[in-house]
Symmetry: C2
Subunit: 459 residues, 2 copies
């Protein structure tokens, strides 16, 4: 009996030995993987914080941020327009469709999908100096990726051109104006743009009440009133144009600032590379990161380049180094696979929105939108319709001379024509906001157009 017990006990014990060994061996496989991951030390806290706040559920209609809304010491959901409640799940049925701003959130889902490749970790001691190693305030590596991007997309010549970074394209508009305008205060440069134009051109020109330049208004009016002497003009050429998406050319043929904020394949076919004296681009309408204030100017002339650079230096000693690091990371993703993933995503999103928009407006005689003309796109190597960032809506009925008011009565907020020095018979509707915003716009527009036939259609 005792001998029998020894045998059983030994068998059990050996079995346990084997099981424990298997457990340890299998665990060891995991441990190896873990120990690879374990090599993170000081960065882990920041990473864990970022993941924790990103994991807060806001029902897809909001988001929590580390530096955002705080309740009881913890970040809480910031809900998108029309949504409320602690987890942003409550849709306000009477909500207004806000299509006013050019907030490019339509690209947010792309960055959600590519979050692992597009995130950065910035150590506390990162780039404390005013300057980089080469004594400039601009990252050479970032400049290299911007040139690579233009070469991939084929939308601008950068070989042999100078580049300056700015706080968004906004700052570069002023810097360019400063660089191109007269230094002779007895005859200030006339700053012009073609109606309908982006209101900031006037806003920035008049801000300082400078003796070197003054706002001259619309190019066509100016040309008819000033038959000779095109020398002292600086013309803003916005191509594609904000608000109507037209590919514009200089009207006056003098000095120009080409604002190419929207010159990307998701908004317009790219007929060929732009090769103007001073071209301005912005990250905002390329990748959708409007909150990252970053733009760049591509400049032919060395003197102009040096003036723009001097302006940025005197105005604010360059662009935050953390911003430059972030933009570099984003552009690395944008330029992956020759730009295909980002631009396919962005184009498909815009095309889908335009398809739905034109379908609604095709049922209307009261409202029309701009005509779009197919063009050959070098980037896609095929002929495509543009899909502009904004719909430029016209109220066709004679009595609807305040188109913005007509839309607002139907809970649609756009930006009135007069904001662009055009008639209020026009209103700009933004098509680049979040999917929630766009869905609300579609709903309200469908309701509005349905009224023309005297009955409200169901969605």
């Amino acid at each position: 009996m005792k001998k029998y017990c020894y045998g059983i006990c030994l068998l059990i014990s050996i079995t346990i030995n084997i099981l424990l060994s298997i457990y340890i061996y299998a665990g060891g496989e995991n441990n190896q993987e873990i120990s690879h991951q374990l090599s993170l030390t000081w960065s882990e806290k920041a990473a864990a914080e970022a993941e924790a706040v990103a994991a807060i559920s806001c029902s897809g209609h909001g988001r929590a941020f580390l530096e955002g809304l705080i309740y009881d010491g913890q970040p809480v959901c910031e809900c998108y327009d029309c949504y409320g409640g602690p987890d942003c799940s409550e849709l306000s049925p009477e909500c207004v469709a806000d299509a006013d701003s050019g907030d490019p959130l339509f690209l947010e889902p792309f960055w959600m999908q590519n979050v692992a490749d597009s995130s950065i970790l910035i150590p506390g001691w990162h780039r404390m100096s005013y300057r980089y190693d080469d004594y400039t305030m601009m990252s050479t590596e970032l400049e290299y990726y911007i040139r690579k991007l233009h070469s991939i997309v084929g939308n601008a010549i950068t070989e042999g051109r100078y580049m300056v970074f700015g706080v968004g394209s906004s700052q570069l508009l002023t810097a360019a104006l400063y660089a191109l305008s007269s230094e002779n205060s007895s005859s200030p440069s006339n700053v012009l743009a073609t109606i309908p134009y982006y209101p900031m051109y006037k806003g920035q020109t008049v801000l300082f009440n400078s003796e070197n330049f003054e706002f001259g208004g619309d190019t066509n009016s100016w040309r008819s009133n000033n038959s000779t002497n095109n020398m002292d003009v600086v013309e803003f050429v916005t191509s594609p144009n904000n608000p109507d998406g037209e590919l514009k050319k200089s009207v006056l043929g003098g000095k120009t600032i080409h604002d190419h904020a929207y010159f990307w394949p998701h908004f317009t076919p790219i007929p060929g590379p732009s090769d103007h004296d001073l071209m301005i681009f912005t990250l905002s309408k390329l990748s959708g990161h409007a909150g990252v204030r970053f733009g760049w100017a591509i400049i032919k002339d060395k003197d102009v380049y040096e003036k723009v650079l001097n302006y940025i230096s005197v105005a604010d000693m360059g662009i935050s180094k953390d911003t430059q690091l972030r933009v570099l990371k984003l552009l690395k993703v944008v330029t992956e696979k020759d730009g295909k993933p980002l631009f396919e995503f962005a184009y498909n999103k815009m095309k889908d929105r335009w398809d739905r928009l034109t379908s609604i407006f095709s049922k209307s005689t009261r409202f029309s939108i701009q005509k779009r003309h197919p063009l050959h796109c070098n980037f896609y190597n095929e002929t495509r319709l543009p899909s502009p960032a904004y719909a430029w809506v016209k109220c066709e009925r004679e009595e609807d001379d305040d188109c913005g008011a007509v839309l607002e009565a139907s809970k649609i907020v756009g930006r009135s024509g007069s904001s662009f020095s055009a008639k209020n018979r026009y209103t700009r509707l933004s098509l680049i906001k979040s999917q929630d915003d766009f869905e609300m716009l579609m709903q309200r527009l469908t309701e509005l157009v349905s009224l023309e036939n005297g009955s409200v259609e169901t969605m």
Copy 2:
């Protein structure tokens, strides 16, 4: 015998079981910790990249950055001044001591020590919008921490005051000028400062050739030439002053812009909270992050506040959201334990540098530095000497009327008095650069002063 074997085998087997169990149990402790760490998913790549580049050894005389010098696709060391070689270990013996710029790298070691608490991870989709949830372009949470900081340090009244963020204090200087100057272009405001003054005041004032303001030069000269009518002046009051560290007061008593870039306990005793109409601060000289372009203005008057805010909005639509997130994280560390760790570190560093500097200059009759007067510091609750960011060196010998040239002949580069509209008999030496820079400065100054006694002392 067989029974004996059973006994031994069982004993061995049970022992192995016990050992394996202990191994698993001990491992399990680790596993729990590991599984906590394992929860990182999308953030891990960015964290690992940041740690990998930070781990590149540059001998303590340089640093590698993700967006910095790249060789063969990999980041490599960027060496500090005077150091070279692949790992920055080679000191150039004939190197010049560059004490020109106000690059505040003296605080870098503090952020190295506190890297885990001061780093941030920014997901690719972070804050793509132009605005925050409250429709502003400024983080409320960041504003809260700035107010908390001033309350801890006791250097500014913020209760009931407005705040505006800017791209460094640089941009706010112009914004303040814009907000305070005359709107009547027939009598532009006179912009004044007291010699010796920071050259950017003039640089920014003349940049736009504005009809609203013009640079009037030195307050004292202006007062003697313009006995009445102080109404149309805007006076920059820099306190502590750059370059000489003096706590300045308004000379003219009209409208003022108080530049408080250096009004922190490591540079000056804080006699009490500043309570002026428009005060400007910058992160650069507080935490040492000059590369992060971030400053703020504290403003009493609502109209002035709205003008400053409008300026920032028109100029560049606010400050990068990633910059604001980073500044918030840094200020959370700065305000920890009522600011003690950061300010103790910074003060001790500056005090040590001044002790060594004064020891050298005490041996000289050819060169002198500014006198420092003890003051009660409310923050430390004791009387202390100031330890300004810059030494304001005077060449005492009559023939040394170009002090900068005298220093340069001994391989010391400062910033000449004329840069501050003072005499070239003065030169500013920066004391806030990296420890390497400071050591080189000490070495060169020691050599120079030793020459006065006809022999070169050994260090």
